[in-house]
Symmetry: C2
Subunit: 363 residues, 2 copies
């Protein structure tokens, strides 16, 4: 079963196409977009080793002229230096206004390729082929692109929408389990903030901690509903005026946990999981959410093999201080996204430091 989700934007609507085996139709799908013949495919050695040949063969058999640029693997290479390498490859391969960049990889490759496409010749087209669960359900959709500054994540970037997001669930088979679980955190987030049906369907499942434990039908369902959730939110708020803030559910405390643990002990998804548990407890404490639903959330998080407790020894006052420097602070008040029922959240700034402290101390 192939799914096609439409992301509606005033200027650049595009499709998120999801189906098992789609890597082999990348060329065919891309050729329907009316782009030029030249393609620069950007990837890293890990992903390219698994899927580079199939992607290139598919593009070539659709008559594209394909060059590739392979960047080192890792968040630490999501920087201006790697960007320069994409530009060098673009120059060397005479990438023109009508040419296209294709990102084959996780969020790191997707964000950098999108930014290179946004800025090469003041903007050329690009296609996302996300290969991690996180990139499929989150990073590849919505047009945020960029690189890190040595002193801060994603400080340099642009909004630039892809022409197509092509998702082949099969590629998840080679993804390490921990990366899979990390992506699951965002999936669970969509269940809480937007899509109760997605939440319910995941609850029926015994395990969510590895791709091999999930039926092909369910993974397509999950991808379809998650991408649809993100597409819904982004279509309604392309450039972060308001609604898009709900995508930060679990991220407020999550970011603080990530930064306090030096972005190494817990990964992004794990931090978001912890953040969702905390936000859930806060919502219950404030009488906004009923405790049974909060427990259901936490059980789902456990089923995905994600943490529900703070890392041992973390400095709770440090978390509270970090919240104050968060980008979401408005006039000194931390804004929280809190559930009111599964599938629905509210944004509030009436969470005091005392409440946060009390909740974190229980975790």
């Amino acid at each position: 079963m192939a799914c096609a989700i439409k992301v509606y934007l005033p200027q650049d609507s595009y499709e998120v196409a999801i189906s098992s085996g789609y890597l082999d139709v990348l060329g065919e799908k891309t050729s329907t977009l009316g782009l030029g013949k030249k393609i620069l495919l950007v990837s890293n050695p890990t992903v390219f080793g698994h899927y580079g040949e199939r992607a290139i063969n598919s593009l070539k058999s659709a008559d594209f002229d394909v060059a590739s640029c392979i960047l080192p693997d890792g968040e630490q290479y999501k920087n201006l230096e790697s960007l320069q390498k994409i530009y060098d490859a673009a120059l060397e391969n005479r990438i023109e206004r009508s040419s296209t960049m294709v990102a084959l990889g996780g969020g790191v490759i997707g964000d950098m390729t999108g930014f290179a496409a946004a800025t090469w010749l003041r903007g050329i087209k690009f296609v996302q082929v996300p290969t991690t669960l996180l990139a499929m359900v989150d990073a590849a959709i919505g047009g945020k692109t960029g690189v890190n500054h040595p002193q801060g994540k994603n400080l340099i970037g642009a909004f630039h929408q892809p022409q197509l997001v092509l998702i082949d669930p099969q590629v998840l088979e080679t993804l390490p389990d921990r990366e899979f679980s990390a992506g699951m955190a965002e999936v669970i987030k969509y269940g809480i903030i937007w899509d109760r049906e997605l939440f319910d369907r995941m609850e029926e499942c015994d395990r969510l901690d590895r791709i091999s434990a999930i039926t092909p039908d369910l993974i397509e369902y999950i991808l379809n509903h998650s991408c649809q959730s993100k597409a819904d939110v982004v279509s309604k708020d392309e450039k972060e005026a308001g609604l898009r803030a709900i995508l930060n559910y679990g991220h407020t405390i999550g970011h603080a946990v990530e930064s306090l643990t030096g972005y190494s002990v817990v990964n992004h998804g794990e931090a978001v999981a912890i953040g969702m548990v905390a936000a859930g407890k806060i919502a219950v404490e404030l009488g906004m959410w009923n405790p049974e639903e909060a427990q259901r959330q936490d059980r789902l998080i456990e089923k995905a093999n994600l943490p529900t407790k703070l890392p041992a020894g973390i400095d709770i006052e440090g978390i509270i201080a970090a919240l104050q420097t968060d980008k979401k602070v408005k006039a000194g008040k931390v804004r929280f996204i809190l559930p009111t029922s599964i599938g629905k959240v509210e944004i509030t700034d009436r969470v005091t430091s005392e409440v946060i402290r009390r909740i974190l101390e229980q975790m």
Copy 2:
């Protein structure tokens, strides 16, 4: 007399404000834009030495919190390394989404600052304070921003419109004459492609080769009409779909001359002057333009102390070959912008290499 020209764009309309002494009202003007308190002013030592203090004082007295970033002077520094320096300064001075960048300088500073603003935190606001004639009438208006790749000019960039372009004609007094003349080439271009009245008014003037030879009234008139011409064209075609191509009048052969002489013997304005003379002769040769008007154009170019002949020893076949690699080539046909009367041009691809060769050989 203060002029305010409006650049109309679907999303980001803005004003080009022109008046003698305006440097001292930069703060006041900027404070009407409803921006945050923090400003990062970007300049180079030459311009900052002349005007930095006045600009900063004006901003400070309007209650802005101003940091500055001074980059080395010269086109060779219009690169990713300088961009990195702007980002570093932005980080160090905690430039946020609500903060503003101000470009104080010629086109080099303006292009880089605009690009930094386009990409810092995925886009913050910026103000252009152009200090060369070229930047006033051309580079600062229209939203093209970017840096060079070591192997090609302006290959990396973005469209990003300023919130305000503030022009103080007085700052031209310190501009070297050769730079002034270079800007005049673009002014004459507007006369030919768009604004016959501007052309006529300049003809009445004895000299156009230095600011001291021109009355304050005339320079304001020239700036006003030139900026209005660019604003008209850009408003009608923000992202280069069609009409904007006429701004390349004189640039087709001009770019070839620049690249063949290694961007050193002739500067951009001089190359454009040569290109306009050549385009004029081609138009006459094809019977599209009457020879008297072409001569009037050439005389105006001479009055601005700009060249009307090819640099000695230049390789004409090299020019013709270079035209083939120009970005404006569509399906092997070079597109020329040719005058049909003063104030009006047409775009045509029916100029053969033979005609080009014949004309260039006469020059």
